[in-house]
Symmetry: D2
Subunit: 304 residues, 4 copies
């Protein structure tokens, strides 16, 4: 149950079977820092190149293929005063005939992060929006474990191993689960957002650097197929693919498996429960793989 303070000296733009930066044990906690999606750190210096540079990977002792890695997101603290994002929407989320009328994708909007007020503010007031502000609600955009078959996959996308899911539900207090494909799991994290709308439809949240604290655990011999999560009110699964229809299939199938394996439901019961009580949220709709979240409220689940 150690607490590790880890300061990264290099970053990865892929999630893969890279040389681990630190070995940790189940139960351990790590306090570390992440740079923003463009590689800028707490001092606004560009210390590495994008996209989405990862801190890590962390080798979790004892993790083997067929296990599930448990990651508790304990604290997500922006460690500088500004974040950036794009004001113009991504070209793929509007009707093709409306693309030509979208604002340029080159521009940036700068946000001021105010931890005292607990809000993020547009640095330059913008017309009718004025000094627009949103809640400070930090989340992890991109995290996951080394994928199967020795792959190293760009942090611009996602898959069974996690990756750039950009789901705004991966915030403080959430427990994330990842299937383990490689010995040690090799956990990577980064791409923190001080706030993000559903779908990350501008391809950005409020992109900034962070101090992140997480602890890890293992569910030995308990496999999973896709990333999962749990918060105060829900359990959820993530499917990553295009089109969204396929992401829905992955997430729904994974939830069916979870309900049967861990909650003791028969196939019939899991089907009925899901058919009537399911909730869906969208993660990113910007990357090569989109993300769909399938959720069940804990109030419908048996008390274990």
């Amino acid at each position: 149950m150690k607490i590790h303070r880890f300061t990264p000296t290099h970053y990865f733009n892929t999630i893969g079977s890279h040389e681990p930066v630190l070995h940790i044990a189940p139960g351990d906690t790590v306090i570390t820092t992440t740079v923003d999606a463009h590689g800028q750190d707490a001092a606004d210096r560009t210390v590495t190149a994008g996209p989405n540079p990862m801190t890590g990977p962390f080798y979790i002792e004892g993790a083997e293929p067929g296990d599930t890695l448990v990651v508790r997101i304990e604290r997500l603290i922006p460690n500088r005063a500004t974040g950036w994002g794009r004001p113009g929407l991504a070209h793929n989320v509007v009707d093709p005939t409306d693309v030509a009328a979208l604002p340029s994708r080159q521009e940036l909007a700068i946000w001021r992060i105010d931890p005292v007020q607990g809000r993020v503010y547009l640095q330059e007031p913008m017309g009718k929006l004025g000094a627009f502000s949103l809640p400070l609600q930090p989340m992890i955009g991109c995290f996951g474990v080394a994928p199967a078959d020795g792959q190293a996959i760009s942090t611009a996308t996602s898959g069974e191993y996690g990756g750039n899911m950009d789901y705004n539900g991966y915030g403080e207090g959430v427990t994330a689960y990842f299937p383990v494909f490689q010995p040690g799991a090799l956990f990577h994290l980064g791409d923190g957002h001080a706030w993000q709308g559903d779908g990350e439809i501008s391809g950005t949240g409020v992109e900034t650097s962070f101090e992140m604290q997480f602890s890890v655990d293992l569910r030995k011999g308990q496999p999973s197929g896709w990333p999962r999560g749990e918060n105060a009110t829900h359990i959820f699964t993530a499917g990553n693919a295009r089109p969204l229809d396929q992401a829905v299939q992955h997430a729904t199938s994974e939830m069916l498996r979870w309900l049967q394996a861990d909650y003791g439901f028969s196939a019939q019961e899991a089907n009925l429960l899901l058919g009537y009580a399911v909730e869906y949220s969208v993660g990113n709709m910007f990357d090569p793989a989109y993300t769909m979240i399938c959720k069940i409220a804990k109030r419908w689940l048996p008390r274990n």
Copy 2:
């Protein structure tokens, strides 16, 4: 501002330019009944064939192409004590390799509707789920106006004109908006659900017959492109298409137009607002056309 009590004598399985059953004026209220998706009425008699028989159409005086029809959903009261649905999930919402393991689509689950408790109960307790219950939360599954070009389209699907969107946000207190394509708009409604999960992924909610009360109004000369809605906290748009990615495009483009036309935002401002504050919900993921809902919380909008 009349109140019309209308008892249907026949129903339609398409939404189209059918002979209107009643002429009403903007400001008027209608109290009527609807049968369930299989055509069963308050007395459990099958009075017409499915799918989704429609009450109406109602001719709204003065409605012309280019206007927007406003429908306030005032009351949705199940008028019998049971509803039905399918326990097995639809084949299209799980991974293709998992289809063979799904329960039969032939079976029905019967729900008891208890308006006093405000809940719906599985009539036959089912294994670990027991006497499972959910809130009584009525909604309209299928409603809309006669589509363009004299089309008559099956109530099994949806489009710009509305239709079988099966969005559980179309409940009491919600205002729905439809583009007007035909003189009189020709408003149809039916397919009430006492409760429905996100996505209607079993192809059913708690399907039952209803007494429905709504009032209508017109936004003359104010066109819209897709169904819209408004509740206490949000405005929203609906896109209907497959894949979900295209439904997202329709709904997002429609919201961009709405924000600019009615709320005075520039394209740049509407893009930024949407990119950062958008929320998405799913309507049906069962019909030929899926439904995606694009929402903006009213707290981000200027007070008009």
Copy 3:
């Protein structure tokens, strides 16, 4: 075995259960005319409005739901000297980031139809393309039968009943098959193209008016699920949906059924044959529903 000469006096922009214009018997031949997609006739007069006005419907005596209508496309003769189309590609067939660079969709290209040379020529030479010409290869863009449930569906799209499939394989000498949904089948046809590329990716072929000759027959009690066809070398099925992936599923499933029902293959044999000998072509990739064609060469089929 009558030959009917039919001159249309009105047209439909939907395919539906409209009043038939002529009753014909299995074995009969019809010689008629069609206007182009904008409603222009042989004399270049606009006689009706678009999209894709249909000649018909023709009532086939004895056709009942559960039968399959057989339509032999015998002659397709453009009856004027020019056709039109769009030089700019549709917005949905290029990467969203490339949409803004596409030429305007407002412009038209005019083609000169030369039946003696058997070619179509760009009327105005265009830069490096010069006096570009293509073979005269007539086809039917939109045809089909009244759909199920009393629907009337825009000729801008397609479904189980046929419709605007824009497959350039529906040319002279081809036999088309349609499932019958309504008594009399109610066959519609129009939207002839003197030439069309794969996918109709500009939303147009060489659009012109035609004299069309076809004969009809019935396969009594032999149902089908989607449009089919047969030419000198292949049998084929058409699936109409978005995304193309779903059109592939419809067309492939329909071919599996056909191989088993009519050619005596077991499921195992039909699977192997299809898995190894299938060919696919694309119909339209422009309309709300895309079209995918699944083909098997007759040389792989048993001689019946």
Copy 4:
């Protein structure tokens, strides 16, 4: 202009920035061997694990990001007498409701390869298909160059860098082009098929081991975005993505760029040419990324 005979001693299941096995120069020819998709060699020994083990990578001297690698497929000779495949179709190419009726995916069909007859024969006659045979028509299922950003991507899928495209048009006499992302390009190849139907809809062709001969060249400073190809009659581009609609967009956009950059067409001319003369073929419809091929016949292109 050397000829290299290279015998592989190890294989890769990802396409990535692996240590090159051989350095070659533009103009050089390589004669080497490949194992089948399960890792079986000419002697039917399993020498490595699947999926799709790659021979290589070959480092092409002088290749740099921004160049295009030219690969001439000179000879593809199966080097054993049998190949295997699956008789049952993939679950994703039929309607979801038809999945449960598909034959098992566990079974294999064995094919006898007869280079004298130039055909492949089902080893065990199968019912009505009898001793079914198809032409011997060898092709490369999976080949490409190391992708961007240091990625290593499973040979089960494909992308801008090539990969498991399973397009039956990549046969002898074809020239393939790949964008160069890494110094030396790092060319991998394998997964030969003695025959394959369109779409690889059983997930297999006639899978066997090969002797393969290819030569390489470079188009210095001439970038490309997606794999391209050229045969006796056509030039073509490959888009790899899901859904097929997106693969169409990638391939069509790439062809538009090619026509303008290399053939001197204006945007308007390239659009018109493509809109009227395009042909599409499908590569795989089985992998995580599907493949769509966009083709233009050389007879429509200017003689350079």
